[in-house]
């Protein structure tokens, strides 16, 4: 059996892919290990978006159960498990927010300050080293996004607002929303690029 990889993102990605493959053949031990590795960041995100620990707990179970059910569809060549499970969590959280509220939900009156406020400055003592490092670099990358672009990303990602709703909320044209969205993600990509290679293997179609 492969030893858990805690220090290197590439090794962690490969180990996670092995665990997902085991989940696909209904190995509950693999589900347990993946849950233990990622339940905290997933729950933390769900709790932040939903603003309700009970809802977050229910969705946490749904996220991992869906990963369990759909393990056979996971494609490790397209990204790391942590990205996959967080994207599942994102979809479920946004659906939940829209279902419950049917209105914008920001948790703050100043959306431009949200991402800088919500980041965690402490590292959980038992967190995997590479994950701590990734979170630290994500925070640094987010800090590099200009506040107006960051506000648009936050309102979409954490509050579930559509482009039109963000346009109305910030009283800016739709075109500006789209531009800020694109530029913000480009800036994020630019600053994350050095660390993402381990999480996103090179595309097969990119080989020359």
């Amino acid at each position: 059996m492969t030893e858990p990889a805690n220090d290197d993102a590439g090794a962690a990605r490969r180990h996670d892919a092995e665990l997902v493959a085991r989940m696909a053949v209904r190995d509950a031990g693999a589900l347990t290990e993946l849950y233990d590795r990622y339940a905290r960041p997933v729950y933390s995100y769900l709790n932040r978006v939903c603003g309700d620990p009970r809802t977050a707990e229910e969705l946490l179970q749904e996220v991992f159960f869906r990963a369990w059910q759909q393990a056979a569809t996971f494609d490790g060549t397209r990204g790391a498990f942590v990205s996959w499970v967080m994207s599942i969590a994102h979809n479920m959280a946004i659906d939940e927010v829209r279902r419950v509220n049917r209105r914008p939900r920001t948790g703050t009156d100043d959306p431009e300050r949200v991402l800088s406020q919500i980041v965690d400055r402490d590292t959980p003592p038992d967190e995997m080293a590479w994950l701590s490092d990734l979170r630290r670099q994500l925070r640094a990358a987010v800090d590099q996004i200009p506040p107006p672009q960051r506000a648009v990303i936050e309102l979409a990602y954490f509050s579930g607002l559509t482009q039109r709703e963000i346009s109305q909320r910030l009283d800016i044209p739709m075109g500006t929303v789209k531009t800020r969205t694109r530029l913000g993600l480009l800036r994020l990509r630019e600053h994350l690029h050095p660390v993402l290679g381990d999480l996103f293997p090179p595309s097969e179609s990119s080989c020359e």
């Binding site: 347990t32 905290r40 659906d95 990734l134 990602y157 990509r189 179609s205």
Partner: protein, 293 residues
């Protein structure tokens, strides 16, 4: 490093310039990744992604990167009970597919649900599906959903395109396996639309597709919401009704389709206001007759 080597680039990864459809899709990759794309455009993007592996990969990689933003939040330890609940649920629902299928069907909301016969070949779907259409058509007339003889004639004129569309549902068996469930849906609160539909999906997995027809007077983009047995609603995606009055959508579900019995359809401009509602046809005779053919 060129964009072709960029693992998360939204730029084309093909050597050839993108088509206009590719360019249109790539321009919406960022809002799609953030979940902020208007519902009416989401379906169109996914339609393209189904046909274009290059765009699909580019968008998927952007989604993967964007999803990491969620890692920046303050870390909170989840309740210990959640772990055990998950493992118990997985143990009960994940090992024996056949047993799970039986449990799933046993708690199906109505008797009208019928599993497709595993022995049916793809070609043999045509006859039962066509018969289903005729039966549903008949039920509209009998139940008064179609208010006049002219409308019946109108529906009959739509028969050809409708049956052709139903034939396309044979793909559903390939998508969802031999255990695929079929839910005939009938329209309620539909005004004069006479809309009908079919839900087809996996009995165990949260995978299903929805097809709707007879909306010839209302082409456009629609937001689709599913309602579960306990009345909980969840957004399931967006679909485009074409000029023939037909549309289809791969639903984004939390649970297998046995959990759902109502589909709400609204315009993307007013997603909270139902244009019409499709309800599971609880007249089990329709499906029983289908099974006897």
């Amino acid at each position: 490093m060129s964009s072709r080597h960029d693992p998360i680039s939204t730029e084309p990864i093909d050597a050839e310039p993108p088509t206009p459809a590719c360019a249109w899709t790539r321009a919406r990759a960022a809002p799609l990744a953030l979940g902020m794309l208007e519902a009416g455009e989401v379906g169109r993007v996914y339609d393209h992604l189904l046909l274009c592996p290059a765009c699909d990969e580019a968008v998927q990689r952007l989604v993967s990167m964007t999803s990491l933003i969620g890692l920046t939040v303050e870390q909170v330890v989840p309740p210990a009970a959640a772990r055990q609940a998950l493992l118990t649920r997985a143990a009960q629902g994940g090992y024996d597919r056949q047993a799970a299928r039986r449990r799933s069907i046993a708690r199906a909301p109505i008797a009208a649900i019928r599993r497709w016969q595993p022995t049916l070949t793809a070609n043999r779907w045509f006859a039962p599906l066509a018969l289903l259409f005729v039966l549903i058509l008949g039920s509209f007339g009998i139940q008064g959903a179609v208010s006049s003889r002219n409308e019946v004639e109108h529906l009959r004129r739509e028969n050809e395109s409708m049956v052709a569309h139903l034939v396309s549902l044979s793909i559903g068996r390939q998508k969802f396996g031999e255990d695929a469930l079929l839910y005939p849906m009938i329209a309620i609160q539909a005004g004069e639309t006479g809309a009908g539909g079919v839900l087809l999906g996996d009995p165990l997995e949260p995978r299903a597709s929805l097809s709707i027809w007879n909306l010839t007077d209302r082409p456009g983009d629609y937001a689709v919401t599913v309602e579960s047995i306990d009345g909980t609603r969840a957004s399931a995606g967006a679909m485009t009704i074409d000029q023939r009055g037909v549309g289809s959508l791969d639903l984004h579900l939390f649970q297998p389709i046995v959990t759902y019995r109502v589909v709400h359809v609204a315009t993307t401009a007013e997603p909270d206001v139902d244009v019409f509602t499709l309800r599971l046809d609880e007249s089990s005779d329709l499906v029983q007759q289908l099974g006897e053919t």
